[in-house]
Amino acid sequence: MSEPLIALRGLTVDFGGAPALRGIDLAVAPGEALGLVGESGCGKSVTWLAALGLLPGRARIAGSVRLGGEELLGAPPALLDRVRGGRVAMIFQDPASSLNPVHRIGRQVAEALGLHRGLRGAAARAEARRLLDQVGIPDAGRRLDAYPHELSGGQSQRVMIAMALAGRPELLVADEPTTALDVTIQAQILDLLGALRRETGMALVLISHDLGVVSETCERVAVMYAGRIVEEAPVDRLFARPTHPYTQGLLGALPPLDGPRRPLAAIPGGVPEPNAMPPGCAFAPRCPHAAAACAAGVPAPVPIEPGHAAACLRAARELVPA
């Protein structure tokens, strides 16, 4: 990868003794679309909330988050406020409650324009209108004066995206942006994100529990389990040759669209509790290939091909020539 836009190194997060992240190494290149996939509680959202300093005060964060030449962890609030909504913007899962119910849409978009581009008054309003237009809000001029409760879920998410675009970000972190939306609206929003990326050249991190959503939108995927990245690969490669048993399990659990209907290859058991992590590989207790060695230590990511790595002892063994 060329010089990364943002690089996370050994990022850990702890909520009062319960580890949420247990060492994340992840880099995003300028303009690339990275998918971050995993089930609830795996830490995929926490990763980016921690990177941007958006976690509550009781979270203990360690490691490093470098944006260009700047370290974000432990950075002064003024620096973080300049980065957030400026170089890195973020949108969230539930668009309806992510907008402030007592302020008009136009004011909320204009606030970001004032903070990051120094636009005020009529200039901010005109730009806010242009942004609403750009994200496909019909009748943008009148919608500026609407309140969030007057918008549908899909429109609210478009407004969130407009607000994110206000600071001309180099990276947009979209945390489950379509999970709360209907399927046809999800398709609209994913289409919009793709189009905006091509227009603006910004990088995208798409956090999702849905492998399908990620596969259609991203170029590279990182799969997370229990606070770690277990596999990372270009999207086509990941779906063609999933290597970590957890990735294989996720793909197997997805009902197919064609072919005979047989029982799904469900992953047995459930995700371990943060304060009761199994020793060694966290997936071992649910893994069909687990061996004694898996409990001995946390497996390190094994490069399988350029750009493809899996944190699994079995992957390491298979690489050893027979």
Partner: protein
């Protein structure tokens, strides 16, 4: 809009009628005004004459109807005790009561709201715990206990302030503080929980994520939302400006509306009691109406146009 107000006014009228009727029934069933005002050893002829003069020998339901007829024509009757106009009696006491309740309200707002906000912003810190401990104390200690405690310390022990009466502004300090502290405690708790609720909302995270500095997040995004539930309790406090001082006025022998009410109830002086109750109900209803309008101003979700 008109329908909205029509409905509110009707509800207010029903509330007032119920309050007045309830007071009538309770006061009449709990003792004979003639006996109480004339004294137990009054001659029977005097009592009979008193009854005739005040229409007390009529059947209860007829008294009730007469009473309501009079109210509707604007006549709230005269005090059975000294024959003075009930309205005049009550109105002349209002300034004294407001002299206590208005400054007390300012203390409640000025102390309670900032304390609640500070506690919420520093959740689980030393400040939060200290504020909440004081708030729980101020909230659970009844005002007559607090009042007596303050009298004991500042009047009896230290001798700094008078323990009762209405001679100078210094006499007002202890009753005002007594009322203000209790109300501030209630408001602090309420503001804190409203603020905590709002701070946990996704739109607060959105504001931070778009680079709004924390102070501006609190002032521009959290407070306007936290104000919505807090307005209810403030409205209640405004509504009780007139009647909220009954206990404190008694403890500090302050000659306001509250003390008049206590005396009037003890004497079964129906006209005066009813007059005060009407006044209280009217202020409460007005305060509620203002709260409803404020809701609309604060929360766009409640002011949707007629579609």
């Amino acid at each position: 809009m008109l329908r909205f107000f029509g409905f509110r006014l009707l509800r207010a009228a029903i509330t007032i009628v119920m309050v007045v009727s309830f007071a009538f029934v309770v006061l009449r069933l709990s003792g004979d005004p003639a006996q109480i005002i004339m004294g137990a050893d009054a001659p029977p002829e005097a009592i009979a004459a008193f009854r005739r003069a005040w229409g007390l020998e009529e059947p209860l339901w007829l008294q009730y109807f007469h009473y309501f007829g009079a109210i509707l024509s604007g006549d709230l009757g005269r005090s059975m005790r000294d024959g003075r106009d009930a309205i005049a009696l009550v109105v002349e006491r209002i300034p004294a009561t407001l002299a206590l309740t208005v400054p007390a309200l300012l203390i409640k707002l000025g102390l309670g709201i900032p304390a609640g906000i500070t506690a919420a912003l520093h959740r689980n810190s030393f400040i939060d715990r200290a504020v909440m401990m004081l708030a729980v104390a101020g909230f659970t200690v009844p005002s007559f206990v607090l009042g007596l405690l303050l009298v004991l310390v500042f009047a009896v022990q230290l001798g700094w302030l008078p323990s009762g009466g209405q001679e100078s502004w210094r006499h007002a300090i202890l009753p005002i503080v007594t009322m203000g502290v209790g109300g501030a405690a209630v408001l602090a708790r309420f503001t804190r929980s409203a603020m905590l609720e709002v701070l946990g909302q996704p739109y607060i995270r959105t504001a931070s994520a778009k680079g709004v500095p924390w102070r501006a997040v609190v002032w521009g995004h959290a407070l306007p939302n936290a104000a919505i539930p807090t307005v209810t309790i403030i409205g209640f406090m405004v509504g009780s400006l007139i009647a909220g001082a009954v206990v404190v006025e008694s403890v500090f022998s302050w000659p306001g509306v509250g003390r008049l009410l206590v005396v009037a109830v003890a004497n079964r002086d129906l006209a005066v009691v009813q007059c005060i109750l009407l006044l209280v109900a009217a202020t409460m209803v007005t305060a509620n109406l203002v709260v409803d309008l404020l809701y609309g101003a604060l929360d766009p979700r409640l002011r949707q146009r007629t579609a």
